[in-house]
């Protein structure tokens, strides 16, 4: 088990970014195979900036002179608490701000969805030359405010309550690792401000049925107590939904798909125990009903140790000895 009570921790950005869908499908998804040790609480701030000029209207790639470049800035507070070495609780909540560089449409901003995750590491075993770990995660996210979902692409989120179930496998040999995960996301219906809308037919209701979604991610790279550097491929697929028709506006229940590629770096500051910086970026390789976003992010995290015996010592900057 990679139990590092060092100065970085998991930025549980996955669920947050995924909810943004049209706005942003970032590869900055920390579906990482790392657990916080018991009674350690890691918390921090994240910033993410994402921009797109081209987008996919259905499968047709185009730009829009009445939007120009659509940018989304996100500021998030996140945390991860070690209930035990095998069980972690995580949370995250972002503030999101959107803007279009051309045309006349007004950007929106506000607090978005609160995400809560349980992360469980039931299996860890020697396998070949390395260590194989298996994880199960369950997450729920729900809107914290009555923000507008039906003003895409400038909405700050889709306003559904999502339940995510994820399986994850990690294999590490020396300091090199690979992680694969698969997630199924159950999404609740949403209510919009209109009381009738057209998808592929007219709906005489303000309620919108949101298709479920799946997410598959592969990540690989270097991982030590001091730093992590990794490359990530991520795919988000909406299991249902419909395409934006020609020159129409996007809608929350569109079939939004995206494949992104990115890198992540996390680094522990040697001078200050428990302090870590993270940074990364991603690009969108393929998509459907979604902007071709490029994004960069950065963050700072700090660990608080609530274990009775632990006093702050420089030893905290070392990886816990593997079992």
């Amino acid at each position: 088990m990679r139990r590092y009570n060092t100065g970085y921790c998991k930025k549980r950005l996955l669920s947050l970014c995924m909810l943004l869908s049209f706005i942003q499908l970032s590869a900055q998804t920390d579906m990482d195979a790392i657990m916080m040790t018991k009674n350690n609480f890691c918390t921090g701030l994240m910033y993410n900036s994402s921009n797109w000029t081209d987008y996919w209207e259905g499968t047709l790639k185009r730009n829009n002179e009445n939007l120009g470049t659509v940018s989304t800035k996100m500021y998030a507070v996140m945390g991860n608490y070690g209930v035990s070495d095998k069980l972690n609780l995580l949370f995250g909540i972002p503030y999101v701000q959107t803007r279009a560089s051309a045309g006349t449409l007004h950007g929106l901003n506000g607090m978005q969805d609160l995400s809560l995750w349980v992360k469980w590491n039931p299996i860890e075993t020697k396998f070949g030359k390395g260590t194989l770990s298996v994880y199960g995660l369950g997450g729920i996210s729900f809107p914290t405010t009555n923000y507008v979902a039906d003003f895409l692409p400038l909405s700050i989120g889709l306003h559904s309550t999502n339940l995510s179930l994820r399986g994850m496998v990690d294999y590490q040999v020396g300091k090199w690792f690979a992680t694969a995960s698969g997630t199924y996301v159950v999404r609740s219906n949403i209510k919009i401000d209109r009381n009738s809308y057209y998808t592929t037919e007219q709906h005489i209701t303000n309620e919108v049925s949101m298709p479920d979604a799946s997410n598959v991610q592969l990540r690989t790279g270097y991982r030590s107590g001091r730093m992590i550097a990794e490359a990530i491929i991520n795919n988000w697929t909406t299991l249902g939904g419909f395409d934006i028709t020609r020159n129409n506006m996007p809608f929350p229940s569109n079939k939004m798909n995206a494949t992104t590629a990115g890198i992540n770096i996390k680094y522990n500051i040697q001078a200050v125990d428990g302090l870590a910086l993270i940074g990364g970026g991603s690009i969108t390789l393929a998509g459907r009903n979604i902007g071709q976003a490029g994004s960069i992010n950065g963050g700072v995290f700090y660990i608080l140790d609530f274990s009775h015996k632990a006093k702050k010592t420089t030893q905290l900057a070392q990886p816990v000895k593997e079992k």
Binding site: E65, N66, V83, S84, L87, A102, G103, T104, L105, H106, G107, V118, W120, G138, I140, N146, V148, D150, F151, T161, L163, L165, V186, R187, S188, N189, I192, D193, R194, N195, S196, Y197, Y198, E201, Q202, H203, I204, T205, E207, V208, S209, D212, T245, R246, N247, N248, M249
Partner: protein, 516 residues
């Protein structure tokens, strides 16, 4: 301890997942309605004043064969055979159409408007292509069902349905053929039994008149509409309400009425409403010659104004001279203090949007990809009419009044817009970012306000106990355009009163059409 925690967690997760996935299906407000149960048959509706027909007998309907003839008995046997093998799906279709033919065709119309309400994308050279009625399947699809187009389409469909049903009611009373279930006890009445004579079938009249009108208005949807026509006609036979003969006579009558009204629509000048570059320049020059700032398109690339000559279209409730007479006084000058103040007010609205105002903006926006503001008022009307137990002919009459008011509101509004060609707030101050799309036409007067003023007035006459509520809705719709940042207060206030004036013509007609 940890195990208890984990298993509790798993249970919670499963419960939430189950709830989220069970609630996937959304049902519409009008999906499951009881069968139409008119409080009166309106048996004398054949004497009501028609809109475009010279009278109910302009098209003749042959006398039906006697109910004792082998031909009619064969028709009854068809119903029995259908009822014997009826499926659950067919029962659902009977219930769907049984809620009211005028209602269901109105909903289908709204659906088509929403589907076709998409502005064409520009060509590579930045020029916007125009849809072609001759080739409705080529991009851009015909029609672009924008608000004026939609208003006219709803009006012609509704007026045609009304005229055709007035004629149908005339022949119903004349021939007085009882419904199949009254003639033969072996036939079940699957909808509300009625004393209304069944020949010609009102369902088939509606199907025929609507399908025939749709050839003009939504030529790309003929196959879809034909399928709906067959569905409605078959359900009325399966329900025991009509025989094949009732249906055939009804559809034929409906199509004849539609052909007459189609001829009227082809010559109402809507076909030329798109104008020419010379027309567009003339609209602009007339305004700049007076020293005013003329409207320019805020689309990128700039788009020609939407149907700038729609103001010249022949109205339903009055003549073209009245269109001009109803044109309001000019808006505040673009160089005036007044307009400066009104622009500042709009900037303030968009700089400090509240969630409730955004809700209002989006509730009434009815922009791209929607059934447009006239469709919204159709939805409001329809959902209230459902509660009123109107006969089909009264449903059609009331919808026709509402939609003729909406079409004429569009004509007066478009005449005003293109006469004064007044810029949008964002043109006067680009800092005004809008909470809904800026429509590609002039500010003065607000289309939403004009539509809403007209619709609320006639609806308040039809359902007096809701009059105050309709006025409140109209005011909210009007204000929504200011909150959204796309109209000045003058546009909205003058739009509402102008719409109310148009609505008064519909009320005047309603008072004298013989229905009240």
């Amino acid at each position: 301890m940890k195990k208890i925690f984990l298993s509790t967690l798993i249970i919670i997760v499963v419960i939430i997942a189950a709830q989220l996935s069970c609630s996937k299906v959304t049902s519409g407000r009008t999906d499951y309605l009881p069968a139409l149960n008119p409080s009166k048959t309106d048996i004398d509706a054949g004497s009501w004043k028609t809109v475009f027909l010279t009278g109910p007998t302009e098209f003749s309907v042959a006398a039906p064969v006697a109910v004792t003839t082998p031909a009619y008995i064969a028709e009854l046997n068809e119903i029995k055979a259908l009822q014997k093998n009826i499926t659950k799906e067919q029962e659902e279709k009977i219930a769907y159409w049984g809620a009211g033919g005028v209602l269901r065709w109105n909903e289908l119309m709204r659906e088509l408007v929403a589907k076709y309400n998409l502005p064409p994308y520009q060509k590579a050279d930045g020029v916007y292509p125009a849809p072609s009625a001759a080739n409705p399947f080529a991009y851009p699809l015909f029609p672009f069902a924008n608000p004026p187009y939609a208003a006219r389409a709803y009006a012609y469909i509704s007026a045609a349905q009304y005229d055709a049903l007035v004629a149908a009611w005339h022949y119903k009373k004349l021939y007085n053929r009882a419904a199949p279930y009254k003639t033969d006890v072996a036939i079940q009445a699957k909808l509300q039994p009625t004393d209304l004579p069944s020949y010609p079938s009102e369902s088939a009249v509606l199907a025929g008149v609507t399908a025939e009108m749709m050839k003009l208005l939504f030529p790309g949807e003929i196959a879809y509409i034909q399928q709906k026509l067959e569905e409605q006609e078959l359900t009325s036979i399966m329900a025991g309400a009509n025989t094949r003969g009732d249906v055939e006579a009804g559809e034929a009558l409906g199509r004849l009425v539609a052909q007459k009204i189609t001829a009227r629509a082809r010559t109402d000048k809507a076909g030329a409403a798109i104008g020419t570059p010379a027309d567009w320049a003339q609209i602009e020059n007339a305004v700049t010659a007076k020293g005013e700032i003329a409207w320019i398109s805020l689309d990128n690339p700039k788009r020609p104004p939407m149907l700038p000559l729609f103001g010249k279209v022949k109205p339903c409730l009055f003549d073209e001279a009245t269109t001009v007479a109803l044109r309001p006084l000019p808006p505040p000058s673009t160089t005036s203090e007044q307009l400066k103040k009104e622009t500042a007010e709009i900037l303030d609205f968009v700089t400090h949007p509240t969630r409730e105002r955004i809700r209002i903006v989006h509730f009434w926006a009815d922009g791209v990809g929607t059934y447009a503001p006239p469709g919204h008022w159709n939805a409001i009307a329809a959902e209230d009419f459902i509660t009123k137990n109107f006969s089909e002919v009264r449903w059609a009459r009331n919808m026709a009044l509402v939609n003729m008011a909406l079409m004429d509101a569009a004509i007066v509004c478009w005449d005003t817009k293109n006469f004064y060609s007044n810029p949008r707030p964002t043109q006067m101050n680009p800092a005004i970012k809008t909470l809904t799309g800026i429509p590609n036409f002039q500010a003065y007067i607000s289309g939403h306000s004009t539509f809403s003023g007209a619709a609320a007035s006639i609806l308040g006459y039809i359902i007096p106990e809701r009059a105050t509520a309709y006025q409140a809705m109209a005011l909210e719709a009007s204000l929504s355009r200011m909150y959204g940042g796309i109209h000045y207060r003058s546009d909205c206030e003058v739009g509402l009163t102008t719409g109310q004036k148009v609505g008064s013509y519909a009320i005047a007609r309603a008072k004298t059409d013989g229905a009240d």
